[in-house]
């Protein structure tokens, strides 16, 4: 019995000892990564939280720890409007990008299946917009939306007898102009995600549906969309965070105006830091952005499949 017991525990003990001798501590291996992540990711984040509890600005005021900055910044009368503008911009961009991304991906897949000429051109054309930097995209659309007699889109409209549109000077229209420019740039990302996910759907499902006599609309509703559910949610999380952080395209297109008509939270934060030199208020607004992004990501994540029951 005794021998058996020794026999049962002995190798384990020897194994652990051997593992202890040959497996080094993980710390030296992970330390460089921990240092890099700590220095370049964690430290700035901690510093932003620290700034939020101070009154630090670039104007030479002595730094003091206070809760006043948080109270003042979050109770500013313009903040509600900024949040509303941000909501409209983000929600519209995400919905339209998701729709167009899926639409283009399905068109490209079908044209590839039927070996139609031009599918690569369609795919590449959508991707071209994606590689254009935000600032450049804003400048391109500023030229197109220019309301001068020689402005791009209005010149085209006049050619076909349609009256000129006040793309940027009408406070009700300007938000949609900004959304159009953002969708133009962001659709390609959704298209790539949807294209890749659609490729992974088992063709047997479509063959079975065809045998059952399902029409294309039914195949989309009962096969494609349910199969793409995870990809759609992940894509929504990514493009929501991406859109919330967008400010380069807006700053070069409208600068946030006219008035505050297109001043989203990220641009407002940028203005507070770089125009008003208020680092502490900028830190509070950054944390607000972080909280909104995290909150949305958690809400989306709740709808992600939790794995099949066994």
């Amino acid at each position: 019995m005794m021998d058996a017991s020794i026999a049962a525990t002995g190798p384990q003990r020897i194994g652990r000892k051997a593992a202890g001798r040959h497996s080094p501590s993980p710390l030296p291996w992970l330390m460089p990564l921990i240092l890099v992540l700590g220095a370049f990711y964690l430290y700035p984040l901690i510093d932003v939280f620290r700034f939020a509890f101070t009154n630090v600005s670039l104007l030479g005021t002595d730094e003091e720890y206070t809760l006043q900055t948080i109270v003042t910044t979050l109770s500013k009368p313009e903040l509600l409007q900024i949040l509303w503008v941000t909501f409209v911009f983000t929600a519209s961009s995400v919905v339209v990008q998701q729709f167009f991304g899926l639409f283009i991906a399905l068109i490209v897949l079908h044209s590839e299946k039927r070996r139609l000429f031009g599918s690569t051109i369609v795919r590449t054309t959508a991707l071209v917009a994606w590689v254009v930097p935000g600032i450049a995209g804003g400048i391109i659309w500023k030229m197109l939306f220019n309301e001068a007699p020689f402005g791009g889109l209005n010149s085209l409209l006049r050619l076909i007898g349609v009256p000129a549109v006040q793309w940027l000077s009408d406070p009700h229209m300007v938000m949609w102009s900004v959304v159009i420019s953002n969708v133009w740039r962001g659709t390609a990302f959704s298209m790539v995600v949807m294209y890749a996910a659609s490729k992974a759907i088992d063709p047997v499902l479509y063959e079975a549906a065809e045998v059952d006599g399902a029409n294309p609309w039914q195949r989309l509703i009962y096969i494609t969309l349910p199969q793409l559910r995870t990809a759609i949610l992940v894509n929504m999380i990514l493009i929501t965070i991406q859109t919330l952080n967008t400010f380069d395209a807006i700053i070069s297109l409208t600068g946030g105006g006219p008035g505050r008509a297109t001043e989203v939270l990220s641009l407002y934060t940028f203005n507070v830091v770089f125009r008003n030199y208020d680092l502490a208020a900028g830190a509070v607004l950054s944390i607000l952005m972080l909280t909104i992004s995290l909150g949305l990501a958690l809400i989306y994540a709740r709808f992600l499949p939790k794995g099949e029951p066994t």
Binding site: N55, S57, L58, L59, G60, T61, T72, E78, N146, E147, A148, P149, F150, Q166, L168, S169, D170, P171, T254, G255, G256, G257, P258, G259, R260, A261, N271, V273, F274, R275, N276, Y277, D278
Partner: protein, 433 residues
Amino acid sequence: MRNTALILALAATTFLAAPHDSPAQEAITGDIVGKSDAPNKLVFRMTTDGPRNNEPAYAQGYSKLFNDFIGKHSDWQIELQMMSGDIGQEQARMLEQAKSGSAPDCAAVDSFVLPLFKKAGVLQSFSPYFTKEEIDQLFPFIREGITGSNGNIYAWWWSTDLRVLYRNKEIVPDAPQTWDDLKKAALSSVEQGMEGVLFNGGRYEGTTFDWLANFWAQGGKLVDDDGKPIFGEGENRDKFIKAVNYYRDLVESGAAPKRVATIGNYDDFNAAAAAGTTALFVGGNWQYAQLKTALDADEFAKWAFSPLPGPAADQRSTGTGGWTVAAFSKDNEKVKLCAELARDIYMGPANALQEQLPTRADLYDKYEVFSSDANKTFAAALKFGQARPGAPVYPEISNQIQIMMGKVLTGVQPTEAAVDEAFGASLSAFKRS
């Protein structure tokens, strides 16, 4: 004979291949001016006013100026750091670097943010390096702008500018003298197929600064002596509202297109002038040279400029800005070199090179380029010039005016309410600072 010819050919080839006496290409290597092994080094952060200017003639002119300068300071090497076009962001970043001790030794500082740099206490005094006579020659508003509360000067303001009304003489023969004159002229230009008078009205510093002349012309004051905003109180409020309503009326009457609320760039006016779609615009003096380059000689001849109209012909003002050179280094030798750089390269030579208005009356006579009719007129108009107030709260006031202007020009908010909102926000920013 054949040998002689061969020797001559070799000599000629050697001569042609050898580096010639072209200092403009000798001392500047990449972003370094001077010898690579020079014992002393100065980091100079600059705008496009330097050897990296996009205009080849200016770039060449600056290269020569920098080479000549380094020729006199052969134990120094200057590293040139270029700022991007986003001046506001660049200046904010530099202020942050200065506070953390990592600013360049010497840099171009926009005159409109100079008060912030002075208040932050990050600039080194230039007083030991400029004579009292040199300082006294500066225009009073320039001298006031660079002087700190202790009487020392903390930068050298070398160029200034001003806003004027440009007009196409074929469409608008006479210079409008008053606000009413301008409205009539603009409406007349619209009847002739133009889009009326153009001005900056978007989210842009130029929107505030160009428009402020209309407020200043009435004697309005933005801030009091303590830097506290007062533009929304008492008589100032009335004058402010009157000046805003002047612009609002231009848009509502059709004398200016609604798109002015989207303009935040002086280049848009050049484009409209080149396309022949406008006959009137409020622009900077530097645009005169740009129009000369952009337009055919015949077209350019049609353009003239005049002082900005006022509420009455004798009530005039115009905004004056410009660039300074200032030192951040705590090393006295570097501060001295920075001051010498400001004097030898920028104060005079650079003004003449780029036709940027000098900040001293005597330089207008020294350089022939300023004897042209256009530059004489600009110089004369400087007497109506007014700089932005040297108050740290100015950037927030400017931001609020830009927001207010957008709301008023697009009809989103009544003028009075928009002005009161802008004033409240500016006051609240002042209390925080």
